[in-house]
């Protein structure tokens, strides 16, 4: 008996000792893992097609409503101007048919609630006791917005002020230029808002946006909080049951051209002490695609989420070039994107690019270690589990699953699928998606570092852009003694074989009518279009645009008046337009450059266009805005013409990129060109030119 007691005593001493002797040299073992439980949200649909997703959370007495209208990507330029959706969203906060903005703001604030509408819906959150009142306001905003004109003017003004601040913010500058480099300005993702866009947007555009896209059948309402399914069913039906469903048009958008080699885009920022560097390219990866998870895991090893990514370890912890360097790889319904980002002191800008490109290449070429894979998987699963702490994440996952039509157990099996990704899978992802030799290298920084960037461009040239992604041209001075008049004269000579006004007049007199046929193509229209242009002395013309045998658009001027016919309806020219057309020569109008006394020229210098030197000449006719001609120094023929044209009260910048001139009967014609206007780009090819054909006089008129 005694013995036993002694034994127990010794044992207890041992155990005390064990506890006191902490071995600090070893990482303590993990305890037993708790199972991860992703709650199943309740999902139901209203009769009008509104999908409602509910995640109950009774921990705190709050309820939030988040409406997502699944607006498809589209060119905002064609809907009034870039930023029309944001303006519409902002304007939704400006009151309804039954309350002014001031009343609405006060109602929301008195509830201690938050409410914010945006271009794609709203977010509303309050304590449970105020949820009915808040939902009433939210529903009124979506169903009966008032869109007051004075509010639009105010928001336009602040938007323009906001655009001003973007001019000096390196992050915005880099984002704008990356978008333009990756997607092009004709693509919805490459559109950059300018003050001109803001000016062009009217109340009608805003209303049109709301009318076209705010439909319940493409919308999702996510409800999170201290509320039951029964309550939600009743409340949401009451608030949104009367919202009318309607078809939402599918608007075609242009495709994305992947870069074929490394290109450097440099954005000068005055007195910058750091370079903001992004190495980026578009990639085709859809949400929920089979590759998605492995591709993201691969990116995490390179420089995603975790601190131990290769980019962070190399550029910060080893080289101390930066406070942080990361990469992102995103999937998207239209087109995804890869991008690295970081800010680096001026002196190491080039070294940093070498290292980043090296790390991207290293993912393809060098081994990915088991340790890296383990860490990246743990980082991703840990992040996933931590995010579940917030019920709104659970709701977001459900929304994503439903929106992209993913399998019901997509997130339940998330951790298992992650675990199964192998080293070979990751290598395959790196090979497939990373393009260290076909990337856009965007640098926002001090002018002094620009030269050091040339080495990274496949052609040894850098494209200089301003903060909104417009190319900045370096202008060299024109040779001394050369005048603008001479450059224009040389052009006429190159085109017509003479610059003698009398001879030119004679040439013109011989022609009564002319018919030219062009083939036109644009990304948004699958079939090529044919344009037939008839001109008849002195000022009459007919322009027909045909798709197959059908005429889809027509414009004419019969000497006295003109107009147009299209699917949008018929329009007559205004008196002003008629007068303008009356005085215009339609045959060989370029000759007017020499003969008209209303023309003024200014030689600005020499600029590079597509790798060749061109004279830059501003041509101003009377009171009109100047047109800019870029005339090839060697051939003396224009390679580019830029103009601001006004149509229906809106100013649109147009740019004609002339790719080829062709000589027909001694006169040179533009045979191939690319015309960009208002976010659209046409390719135009000249098929035939005939002189003195018979013009069907019935074509004049509507």
């Amino acid at each position: 008996m005694k013995r036993n007691i002694l034994f127990i005593f010794i044992l207890s001493l041992v155990s005390i000792n064990v506890q006191a002797q902490l071995d600090r040299s070893k990482r303590p073992p993990a305890g037993e893992e708790r199972e991860i439980n992703i709650p199943d949200p309740n999902v139901f649909k209203l009769d009008n097609g509104l999908t409602v997703i509910l995640v109950e959370d009774h921990n705190i007495p709050k309820v939030s409503y988040n409406l997502t209208v699944d607006v498809p990507a589209f060119n905002e330029k064609q809907f009034g101007g870039v930023g029309v959706s944001d303006l519409a969203g902002e304007l939704l906060n400006s009151g309804t048919q039954s309350m002014t903005k001031d009343q609405m703001d006060k109602r929301v604030d008195l509830l201690g609630a938050s409410f914010n509408a945006s271009s794609k819906g709203f977010f509303a959150s309050s304590l449970k006791k105020h949820t009915d009142e808040l939902l009433k306001i939210a529903s009124d905003v979506i169903l009966n917005p008032s869109f007051p004109q004075d509010e639009l003017e105010r928001i336009k003004k602040t938007t323009k002020s906001g655009l001003e601040t973007a001019k000096s913010d390196p992050g915005t500058m880099a984002a704008n230029v990356s978008n333009v480099a990756n997607f092009g300005k004709a693509h919805p993702y490459g559109e950059v808002q300018t003050a001109e866009d803001v000016d062009n947007i009217t109340l009608d555009h805003v209303k049109m946006y709301h009318k076209t896209f705010f439909k319940p059948n493409i919308s999702y309402l996510v409800v999170v909080g201290d509320i039951t399914l029964e309550e939600v069913k009743e409340k949401v039906e009451k608030a949104f049951g009367s919202w009318k469903k309607a078809d939402v048009p599918k608007i075609p958008i242009s495709g994305v051209k992947l870069p074929s080699k490394n290109k450097v885009y440099f954005v000068p920022k005055k007195a910058a002490v750091q370079s903001e560097i992004r190495i980026t390219f578009p990639l085709d990866l859809k949400p929920g695609a089979e590759d998605e998870m492995a591709a993201k895991l691969m990116n995490n090893i390179l420089g995603g989420g975790v601190f131990s990514g290769r980019l962070m370890q190399n550029l910060r912890e080893d080289k101390a070039y930066t406070y942080g360097c990361r990469s992102s790889l995103s999937s998207d319904e239209v087109f995804g994107e890869f991008s690295t980002n970081g800010s680096f002191r001026n002196e190491v800008t080039d070294s940093a690019i070498v290292q980043i490109l090296g790390e991207i290449e290293g993912m393809i070429e060098k081994e990915i270690t088991d340790e890296e894979i383990y860490r990246a998987k743990k980082g991703m699963s840990g992040g996933f589990i931590r995010s579940l702490e917030s019920p709104s994440t659970v709701a977001y996952l459900a929304l994503r699953r439903i929106k992209y039509n993913l399998p019901a157990d997509y997130y339940k099996t998330y951790l298992q699928r992650l675990d199964k990704i192998s080293k070979d899978d990751l290598k395959a992802m790196a090979k497939k998606y990373l393009k260290p030799n076909a990337a856009n290298i965007v640098v926002v920084g001090n002018e002094e570092i620009a030269d050091k960037l040339k080495q990274f461009d496949a052609d040894g040239k850098i494209i200089k852009m301003d903060y909104k992604g417009d190319i900045i041209k370096d202008i060299k001075p024109a040779p001394e003694g050369l005048t603008a008049d001479q450059v224009v004269k040389d052009f006429i000579n190159a085109k017509f074989g003479t610059s003698d006004v009398k001879k030119l007049d004679k040439m013109r007199k011989k022609i009564k009518t002319m018919k030219s046929v062009y083939e036109m193509s644009l990304a948004q229209v699958p079939q090529p279009l044919v344009m037939e242009m008839y001109v008849e002395k002195p000022n009459k013309y007919i322009r027909l645009v045909k798709m197959g045998t059908m005429t889809v658009q027509k414009e004419y001027f019969d000497g006295e008046q003109g107009g147009s016919t299209s699917m949008q309806g018929n329009k007559k020219f205004t008196e002003e337009e008629n007068t303008e057309h009356k005085t215009a020569n339609v045959i060989f109008d370029d000759i007017d450059l020499l003969t008209s006394d209303k023309m003024k020229f200014e030689l600005l210098g020499i600029e590079e266009v597509n790798g060749k030197d061109a004279y830059k000449v501003n041509v101003t006719e009377g009171e009109n805005e100047p047109k800019t001609y870029l005339i090839d120094v060697e051939t003396k023929l224009p390679v580019k013409i830029e103009a601001v044209e006004e149509a229906e009260g809106q100013k649109t910048f147009t740019s004609s990129n002339i790719q080829e001139w062709k000589e027909i009967d001694g006169v040179k014609f533009v045979s191939k060109m690319e015309l960009s206007a208002g976010g659209m780009t046409f390719q135009q090819t000249l098929k035939t030119v005939e002189k003195n054909v018979k013009v069907d006089q019935n074509l004049y008129g509507q």
């Binding site: 902490l22 600090r24 070893k26 990482r27 303590p28 073992p29 993990a30 305890g31 893992e33 708790r34 921990n59 705190i60 007495p61 709050k62 906060n93 039954s98 309350m99 903005k101 009343q103 703001d105 006060k106 109602r107 604030d109 008195l110 201690g112 609630a113 959150s125 309050s126 304590l127 006791k129 105020h130 009142e133 003004k157 602040t158 002020s161 601040t165 000096s168 913010d169 005055k270 750091q274 975790v306 601190f307 131990s308 910060r316 912890e317 080893d318 101390a320 406070y323 002191r345 860490r375 743990k378 980082g379 699963s381 840990g382 992040g383 589990i385 931590r386 579940l388 702490e389 917030s390």
Partner: protein, 497 residues
């Protein structure tokens, strides 16, 4: 008819919101270890997650005038490793466990935290106790992090439009008190720092009696208490901790030279041998059993900033596109009663869409793109700032005039009952949001303990706010929001000058 309905609605809303419920209490346990470490535990088993955080009561105001930026620099250095954790392993260990970690530094404190799956509680405790006992700082770490911090300054301050406004505001508003510099500090000071400086700073401030360990989430209170004891109770205090760190970080020769300069050679020989073979604890037991464990008080800044004594102004030419106006009013410390009233006053000016600055300056007069006030919650008397960015074609002078009009109007006419309701209802809603995540709760509890002397302040805040009256608002407006008590900064585009 519509009008009547609307006003009825307003009345209804007020009635409803008057019925404020008492928010659910945040439960927690708190105690001190004998070495002075304060421990706070909050249990919430909803998700299998925990937050482990340590708040060191050291910020930029504790720095030597010639070594500014040190507290923040230490935040970087203390991720470098410890006696048992190699360089770069802090983040790896946490990431491998599926967790995340970070830290931040203010004028008053340095805060480290890990968010971990709850089965990794012990890992979090190990990491934090290693940092507290014997963080290791080598020359390579110092060199690297010094450059990283310089990049941080360039990225966050020098290269950002208006990025220098806090630095300039505090420089203008303070002459005596160390709030006159920002946590990022001076790069020259960091360049000039020696190893001795680092050792001194670490030993002065990184001691258990200057730290608060706050853990929130999926824990068992009793089990956690045991583990806290396991990892933290062995951390010595006072001179003993200094010797402990010397045993580990000085070379044996230097150690002997420092502590046994006149010992006979034979004894020196033996100590050298023991240093190579025994654990630190054993060395302490063998040779330093008499060394003092008495807690050494933490030096605190004692400078008291005299009253500003008149408006101070400064014009900053910067690479910005729109002019900006920054007003800074000298304020009492965050734990003073006046500060609650100041916060409510500030929200009446700029806390919501219907707030005065937004309604008048942004929406009606359209002078500003944005106007926002933020009273900085500081331990010592600090500043309440109001930042306005001009709309296009509005000068800084013009905007300042309009901002002044609003402040003067408030002083002259007071605030309405409705405005008080709005703010108090918002504060009630915010209370729940802040305390909905384990990370947020662990930080709040630690802050309240350190700045208010009681973690339980988390449950008393609401009452404090609700007890503020219209008269209190008037009083603090008249007392603090006056020109003699403020600084004014104008940011103007460089090209304009």
């Amino acid at each position: 008819m519509k009008r009547i309905l609307t006003s009825l609605f307003f009345a209804g809303a007020i009635l409803v919101s008057n019925a404020q419920e008492k928010p659910k209490k945040v439960e927690f346990v708190e105690y001190d270890l004998p070495n002075g470490l304060h421990v706070i535990l909050h249990k919430n088993n909803t998700n299998p997650l925990i937050a482990v955080s340590v708040l060191y009561h050291v910020g930029s105001k504790d720095e030597d005038t010639n070594r500014t930026g040190f507290a923040h620099f230490f935040e970087h250095l203390l991720f470098e490793g410890s006696t048992n954790i190699g360089r770069g392993e802090y983040s790896e260990l946490v990431e491998d466990a599926g967790g995340s970690l970070n830290a931040n530094t203010s004028q008053d404190r340095t805060f480290y935290f890990e968010l971990l799956p709850s089965n990794e509680l012990e890992l979090g405790l190990w990491l934090e106790s290693e940092r507290m006992l014997h963080a290791k700082v080598d020359q390579q770490g110092v060199e690297t992090q010094r450059e990283v911090v310089k990049e941080e300054k360039r990225q966050r301050i020098d290269n950002q439009p208006y990025g220098t406004f806090l630095t300039n505001a505090f420089k203008l508003a303070f002459n005596e008190h160390p709030y006159r510099w920002m946590p990022i500090g001076s790069m020259d000071h960091l360049n000039a720092a020696t190893e001795e400086d680092y050792v001194k700073f670490y030993r002065t401030f990184y001691v258990p009696n200057n730290a608060t360990l706050s853990i929130a989430g999926d824990i068992d209170i009793e089990e956690t208490k045991k583990l806290v004891k396991k990892y933290f109770s062995g951390i010595p205090t006072g001179e003993k901790l200094n010797v402990f760190r010397d045993v580990e970080f000085l070379s044996p020769e230097n150690f002997v030279a420092k502590y046994f300069p006149s010992a006979p050679d034979a004894k020196k020989e033996k100590i050298l041998k023991d240093l190579g073979s025994k654990t630190t604890e054993e060395i302490l037991k063998m040779y330093f059993s008499n060394v003092s464990s008495k807690i050494i008080p933490i030096p605190r800044p004692t400078q008291v900033e005299p009253a500003l004594g008149g408006e101070k102004r400064m014009i900053v030419e910067d690479n910005v596109q729109l002019p900006a106006v920054l007003l800074g009013y000298r304020m009492p410390a965050q734990n003073s009663d006046d500060f609650y009233a100041v916060q409510i006053l500030n929200r009446i000016l700029s806390g919501s869409k219907s707030a005065r600055f937004n309604k008048t300056l942004v929406e009606k007069e359209q002078k500003a793109l944005f106007v926002q006030g933020f009273p900085l919650p500081l331990e010592h008397p600090g500043l309440a700032l109001v930042l306005g960015i001009s709309n296009m074609e509005v000068s800084a002078e013009d905007l300042e005039k309009s901002m002044d009009e609003q402040i003067d109007k408030l002083i002259a006419e007071g605030v309405t009952e409705e405005e008080m309701e709005i703010v108090k209802n918002k504060i009630e809603t915010d209370f729940y949001s802040t305390n909905s995540r384990v990370g947020g709760i662990s930080e709040s509890l630690a802050n309240f303990h350190v700045y208010f002397g009681s973690a339980d302040q988390i449950n008393k805040q609401m009452e404090k706010y609700l007890s503020v009256t219209k008269e209190d608002i008037m009083r603090v407006a008249k007392k603090y929001y006056v020109k003699d008590n403020r600084i004014v900064l104008h940011y103007v585009p460089k090209s304009e000058q």
